[in-house]
Amino acid sequence: MARWSIIIPAAATATAPSAAFAVEYLSGDQAQATIFPEAEQFQTREFHLDEKARSALESKLGLPVRAKWIVRLALRGGVIVGAVIVDDVIGKFDRITFAAGLGLNGVVREVEILAYRESHGQEVRQAAWRAQFAGKSESSPLRVGDDLSNISGATLSCNHVADGARRSIAVLASLRSVGALK
C-alpha cells in the first residue's frame, strides 16, 4: 500500500560533511514584474529617510531601520502604481533575499523570495564569506532551476523574512505618506 518511492544511497550516513546550499528563484527585475504585472516600466530611485522618520519607524517596528533605501517604482501610463523594495535578512544560518511590494493605493502586494542560502553556522559568522554576496541581490543573474536539490529539515526560520518584509512595507508606506513616491 506504500504509495511513495525513494532511493537512499548506500552511503546515507550522518558522517557526510555538510555543505553550503543556495537557490536563486527570481532576479530583482523578474520579482518586480511578478509583483506588479500591470506595470509597463520600472524606475529605480534612491531615498534617504531623515532621522525623525527613521527613528519613528524603528520604534514602531521594533527593528533597526537604515536611512538609505533603493526603491523600484512601477509605472503604468506614466503614473506610479506601486513600489518594490528588494532586501536581505539573515535566516537561521544564512542570508535570504526577498522583494516586497506596496501599491500606491496602500494595498500590500506579494512578498517573493529571490534567493535562499544555507551554510555552516561557522561560515555565517565569517564576515568575509558573507561579503561575497554583498550587493548581489540587486544584480543577480537569472539562474532559476540550475540546482534541483531540496532541503528537508525542521521548519526554516521565517520570522526574519516576515520582519524584513514588514520593514520594507513600512518604509514604502512612510515614503508614500509624505508624497515621496510621485
Binding site: 504509495r3 537557490v23 536539490s149 525542521a154 521548519t155 521565517c158
Partner: protein
C-alpha cells in the same frame, strides 16, 4: 526546464517546483490553496473553524469547511490507531470533540482545545500540491515547506539540514510521495512534550498530512513503531 518559486507562508518558506514550462498562475493556485488552509485551520485567525471551536461553549455544533473536516477525520483516525498517543487536543479533552458525516463539528466540554499545529502544515502542503498538480495537468512537480516535501513524477534529491550547526548534506532522492522531517530539541521551534532528548526524525508516506503526523509519533517512540506499517510509512532517525 525546471521552474521554481518561493514565498513566505505557513511560518516558513514554501517552495514550488515544476518540470514543465508553465504559467505563473499555476504557482498562484498553489499559494492560494495554502492561504485557504491557513484561514480554516489557524488558531490565530478569529474567523477560522478551529478558533471558533476553541472559543465556543460545551454543546456547540457548527458546520466546518471541507478542509477542516478532512484534517479532523484523519486526526480522529490517527488518534484511534495510535491508542491516543496522537492527540490534537494535547490532553485538554481527547474525546470531547467529534465530527459527523455532514461535516458538523461538535464540542462536548468547555475546556477542550484543538491545535492542528502537528498536521496542519503537512495538510497545507498536500493541498498546494494538489492545486499545482491540477494546474499542470499531472506534470512532474514538487512542493517543499521546509520540513514537508511532496513530489510526483520526478527524482528530487533531498538534502538533510544540520539543525544545530547549519549546512546541508546529501541524503536521499524522493520520486513519488511525501517526506517529513522534524527536529525536536531545546532550541527548536517544535517542542515535544515527553521527549527526554533531542530527536531528529524523517517519515516517508503517501501524503504530507500522514508523514507530518507520524514524525511526532516516531519522535516519542521509535522508527519501528507498528503504527508506521498501518499507514504504509517508513521512518528514519538522524544522528
Amino acid at each position: 526546464m525546471i521552474m521554481r518559486r518561493a514565498r513566505p507562508a505557513l511560518g516558513t518558506i514554501v517552495e514550488l517546483g515544476a518540470d514543465a514550462p508553465i504559467n505563473a498562475r499555476a504557482f498562484d493556485a498553489a499559494y492560494f490553496a495554502i492561504a485557504e488552509v491557513e484561514r480554516a485551520l489557524s488558531i490565530f485567525h478569529s474567523e477560522s473553524d478551529i478558533h471558533r471551536f476553541n472559543a465556543a461553549p460545551a454543546g456547540a455544533a457548527r458546520r466546518i469547511t471541507d478542509e477542516t473536516a478532512c484534517v479532523l477525520r484523519v486526526a480522529a483516525e490517527l488518534q484511534c490507531e495510535s491508542a491516543g498517543r496522537f492527540d490534537i487536543t494535547q490532553g485538554t479533552g481527547p474525546h470531547d470533540w467529534s465530527i459527523n458525516e455532514d461535516g458538523r463539528l461538535f464540542k462536548h466540554s468547555d475546556g477542550v482545545r484543538i491545535d492542528l499545529g502537528g498536521i496542519g502544515k503537512g495538510f497545507a502542503v498536500d493541498r498546494a500540491f494538489e492545486a499545482l498538480s491540477r494546474a499542470l495537468e499531472g506534470a512532474a512537480c514538487w512542493v517543499n515547506a521546509g520540513g514537508d516535501l511532496r513530489v510526483q513524477g520526478m527524482e528530487v534529491p533531498v538534502q538533510l539540514r544540520d539543525e544545530v550547526r547549519g549546512g546541508v548534506r546529501p541524503w536521499m532522492v524522493l520520486r513519488e510521495g511525501a517526506l517529513a522531517t522534524s527536529y525536536f530539541g531545546a532550541s527548536a521551534r517544535s517542542l515535544l512534550a515527553g521527549a527526554a532528548r533531542a530527536r531528529h526524525v524523517s517519515v516517508a508516506a503517501s501524503t504530507c498530512l500522514i508523514s507530518d503526523a507520524l514524525t511526532k509519533i516516531v519522535a516519542l517512540s521509535a522508527v519501528d513503531d507498528p503504527l508506521l506499517a498501518r499507514f504504509g510509512a517508513t521512518a528514519w532517525q538522524h544522528a
